[in-house]
Structure formats: C-alpha cells, structure tokens
Amino acid sequence: MDHKIAVNIANVSKSFGSFQAVRDVNLQLRQGEFFSLLGPSGCGKSTLLRMIAGFEDPSEGAIAIDGLPMEGTDANHRPTNMVFQSYAIFPHLNVEENIIFGLARSGLSRAEKREKASDMLSKVGLEGLGRRGAHELSGGQRQRVALARALVLEPKVLLLDEPMSALDKKLREQMQMELRALQRSVGITFLMVTHDQHEAMTISDRCGVMFEGRLAQVATPHELYQKPNTKQVADFIGGMNFFDGSIKANGGEKLDVELPWFGQVSVDAHGVSDGVGLPVTIGLRPERVHVGSRRPDGADVAVPARVIDRAFYGETIHYYLELEGRADPLIASVTNFERADHFEVGDPVWSGFRGGAAVALPRK
C-alpha cells in the first residue's frame, strides 16, 4: 500500500551535554494519519516532537516534512503548528485575536481574517465565542482555542504535546473523541505525544512506543496490544502476565515452549528465531486467562490455583491467582456477567489458557 510520507525522521539523535535524549530514531509519518508517540516520562518523545516543530535541532540525522528537508529552517517558518501542554493561550487577547495571531503576516484583510477565525471556531465547536476573554475560558475551551489557532494556519502537520493532561477524566474522554473527529474532518497529519497509553490506543491510527530515547515499536494499536515486540512494550501497553520458559521446537510461525506450572504449549512465535533449548519469555494478557471452578475445556493448558485477591472495576473483575511456588500472582481479567461464576478470596480455582492467546517476546 502506497502511503504519502508527511514527516520523514531519519537516524535522528539528540544529546544535551552528556545526556542522550533521543537515540537514532527512524520514523515515517503517513499523510493524513493520526499518530501517537507513547512512552513514560523522560523517554524522549517530547524532545522528538520539539525537533519536528523546530524548537530543537537534531544532534544527528535529518527531518523532512512533505519531502522538504527542515535543516536550517526555524520553527516560525516550518509547515507545522503546535498545541502546547498548557495551551499557551495569550492572556491579553480575546479568543478571536488569539486565533488570528499567526495570520498577522499573511496579507489578509481584517475581514478575511475574521472570517477564517469564525470558520475555525465552528469547526472546533466554539461558535460565537470570538469576543470572550482568555481568562473566561474553561480548560476544554482553551484546548479548542489552541487547536483553532494552530489549524487556521493550515499546517501540513499538527503537533500536540500531551494535549489532554490538563483536563479531568470525563472531559478527557469526550475531547479524545472530538479530537479524532476533528482530525478526520480536517484531513491533515496529527502527531500527538502522550504518556497515557489508553488515550493513544483509543484515537490513533498508529502508535510509536519509546523508551529511553529509542523507538521500540511502531504499529497499529491492535498490533501493539496483541503482538508487542518486547517485554518492555508489552508491559507498558496494558497489563500482562510473563512466564519464562525454554524453546522445545521452533516451527517458524509457531513455537513450542516448555513453561513452568503449565507444561508444554504451542504459542505464536512472533518473529522469535532462537533455536531449541534457548530461553524465551511468554506474554499472556489477563483477559485471555481462564478462571473457573473446573478444569477449563477450551484451554490447551491448565493448572490449579488459589484466589488471593480480587479487584472490582465495574465492567471487569480482576482476580489475583496464586500458583504454588510462583512469586507474582497470575492476573486474570473476567467480564462481569450476571451468570458468570464469582469467586471469593481463598477459593480454589482452575486457571488456564489457549496457546494461540499467548505470544513469545524476543529477549532483549
């Protein structure tokens, strides 16, 4: 499938003195996609964003936007615009003046600018609020003004630096959907930086996960969740149970693994090419762990366990299962059906899983 490349990041690194913030990142953003850079604080995602915006220069490597190399181009001349974490709404200007701020050198007449502003206000759902003062805006409104202000300049790429972190949970969920709809209606490439993996997974077409300056994996949210490249990625995206085992046979697509407690099971090889006898880590999502009072039918492997704790999340219940001799509990996530079995702390249960539900993780 041929995608037009909006942003090409080639071998980009950035050091601050002796500290390496970004290490050899290669990434291509496709035209019109919503891409999220995801990772824990300090992983370098904001630095990468700022290099694309032009606020920092790469120590090594090159960035090109729409095919044009950006080296030597200052932030104010790049075809990008940014929504800052604090939104940076100019406090001395009203909403309309904020939005047309960047149009000052465009040569447009006052009337044309006001028309563009009012267009933008409708797009972001703030019709009629042009005259509002900056200090009279709520958190969600400020975000929209920041979006309008950036988008009115018709950038090739819109950069968003943790745009939801200043909002409370309910508002955040609402704004996530609105942001997604806005991106589709405007049609340009959005690049968002966030540490909230749930948010990234919900609204992005693709995500890039970063740890300590390196890009660990770039994939669709589904792929990231089902087939994480490394244990680090797997752990960051949702909860996961890990087991260390050894390879009994490597059939290319499938891997036969000998696991403690469970015995031998055939799992998705997921690119692991190690040979027989070598160690391998298996990842298993909590919702693929079966919990029942009897030995499960559909599972390939099963063991007895004991419920040592449980957490009620409304739609799901998490059971913390103790396998004899294992330090960490096995976490199972069960949908809260009326008719399903409910277990108490201390109950003995059977736990198991299907081989196809587990995935091998390359040892780093």
């Binding site: 606020f55 615009n81 604090s86 940076a88 100019f90 960047g102």
Partner: protein, 272 residues
C-alpha cells in the same frame, strides 16, 4: 493560672477594638496634616478656628517651591525609568535564564534594601565628590535608582516567574520572530508589572529625603525644600498644605500601582 486566663481572655475580646484603634493611630499623622491645612490659624493645635483654603492658595506664589517641585518630578521620572529598566532586565535573567552566579547577582541587586541609608548617603557623597561629579540632580538620580532597583526586581521577578514560557514559544510557532514574540506577547503581558514598578519607584523617589539631602547640592528636591522651611513658624501652614497635597498624591499613586500589580497577577497566573 485561672485568674490570668480569665484576664487574658477578656483582653482577647478587646482585640478587635484594639486593632481598629491601632490602625487609627497609624493614620493619625497623615490625617492631621490635611486637617490643619484647612484651619484658619497659624497655630497648629486644637481647637480649630475656621475653614480656609488660603494656605493652598499661598502655595502658588512660592517660586522656590515650584523649582523644587520641578526638580523632584525630574528626578522621580528619570530614576523610575532607570530603575524599572535595569530591574526588568535582571529580573528576566533571574527568572528565565540559568547563568553562572545567578543567585549572587540576585543578592547583590537586592542589597540596597538592607543597607542603612545614612551609609549609602555618605558613601555616595564621598565617591561623587571624589570623582568630580559634585552634588547635582544627576547624582540624586543615581542614588534614587539604586534605592528603587530592589523594588523593581521584586515585582518583575514575580511577574516573569508566573509567565508561562510556552507563550513565547507559541508565538514563534505561529510565525513570529523572537522580537515579534517579545513585542506582541511578553511585553503586553508583563506591562502591568512594569507600570507598577514605575509608579512605586516614582513615589519612593518623590518622597525620599536623606539621600536627596546629602546629594542634591544647590538644586533641592521637594522634601529638601520642605526641610528648609520647617525652621520658619510663619511658613508652617503653607508647608502643611503642601505636605497634604503630597500625601494625597502618594496614596493615589500607591493605589494605582496596586491595581496594576493585581492586574499583572491575573494576566499571568491564569495561563496555568
């Protein structure tokens, strides 16, 4: 202990009344001057004899007074501008830049606040005369600027401290140059702070006596002029009238400065 407790708790109930009386005591001197300035008597005491505005009218004839007033205005305006400019520059540096000896420079510029004025006065006198500058309004300006820089630094470091860094970056991101961002975003947002500095520096300089006394030489400022008139009982009512006007002006400037300082806070803190 119980008797003491009983006494103290009764005293405690008197606290609000005491507070009000005390504050009245604080305002007593500055209310007295205007009161007597309208009194038709050369003797400044009770009982009051009659209402008159002649002491104010009489001020118009004092040429020496106007000359001193002009000197005070000139010194106050220039030293306010100097102090505000110098204060703003270093406040920006302290708040937004990491440079070597930052804390030291901050301590140094706040130093004039803790030094006894008499020491500043004689030291500057020694040096200015030593290098041939003499005692002129120019030397008074140098001294008053020195005195008011700490006020400006205090106000502006607070203003810049609350100023969201992202505002300038956002302006650049939207297409402005660095100077454009300064002009269109930074200055307007900290403008209330700057105005507050100007007003406070002006007021402090306008009312200042000791440094002007030592350094103004043959061109007295208004407080120095008032000092020279204090010896003459006949002139006292005029001096009181003048003093009352000055008190009024000072208070008005202070209220204005406070309004601008509050407005500055409102501008910058809600950018969070």
């Amino acid at each position: 202990m119980n008797r003491v407790a009983a006494v103290l708790s009764r005293v405690g109930r008197l606290l609000p009344a005491y507070a009000v009386l005390y504050i009245g005591f604080l305002y007593l001197p500055i209310l007295l001057l205007p009161l007597f300035s309208f009194n038709d008597s050369k003797v400044l005491g009770f009982p009051l004899t009659g209402f008159t505005t002649k002491w104010y009218a009489g001020l118009a004839e004092q040429t020496a007074l106007f000359s001193a007033l002009k000197n005070s205005l000139f010194v106050a305006v220039v030293s306010a501008v100097v102090a505000t400019s110098l204060g703003t520059l270093i406040s920006r540096a302290i708040s937004k830049h990491r440079y070597p000896l930052r804390r030291t420079s901050q301590t140094i510029v706040m130093a004039p606040l803790v030094m006894p004025e008499i020491i500043i006065a004689i030291s500057l006198l020694i040096v200015f005369l030593g290098i041939g500058l003499g005692t002129t309004l120019f030397t008074v300006i140098l001294a008053h600027s020195l005195l008011t820089i700490p006020f400006c630094v205090s106000i502006m470091t607070s203003a810049f401290g609350q100023f969201d860094d992202a505002l300038e970056e956002a302006a650049v991101d939207l297409g402005e140059t660095s100077w454009g961002a300064l002009r269109r975003v930074t200055l307007p947002v900290v403008a209330p702070g700057i105005i507050s500095c100007l007003l406070i520096s002006f007021t402090v300089s306008f009312d200042e006596f000791i440094l002007a006394f030592f350094l103004s030489g043959n061109s007295p400022t208004l407080p120095v002029y008032i000092w020279s008139q204090v010896r003459f009982p006949a002139k006292l009512p005029n001096v009181i009238a003048l003093g009352s006007l000055l008190i009024l002006v000072s208070i008005l400037f202070l209220l204005a400065a406070e309004r601008f300082r509050r407005r500055s806070e409102r501008f910058t803190t809600q950018a969070e």
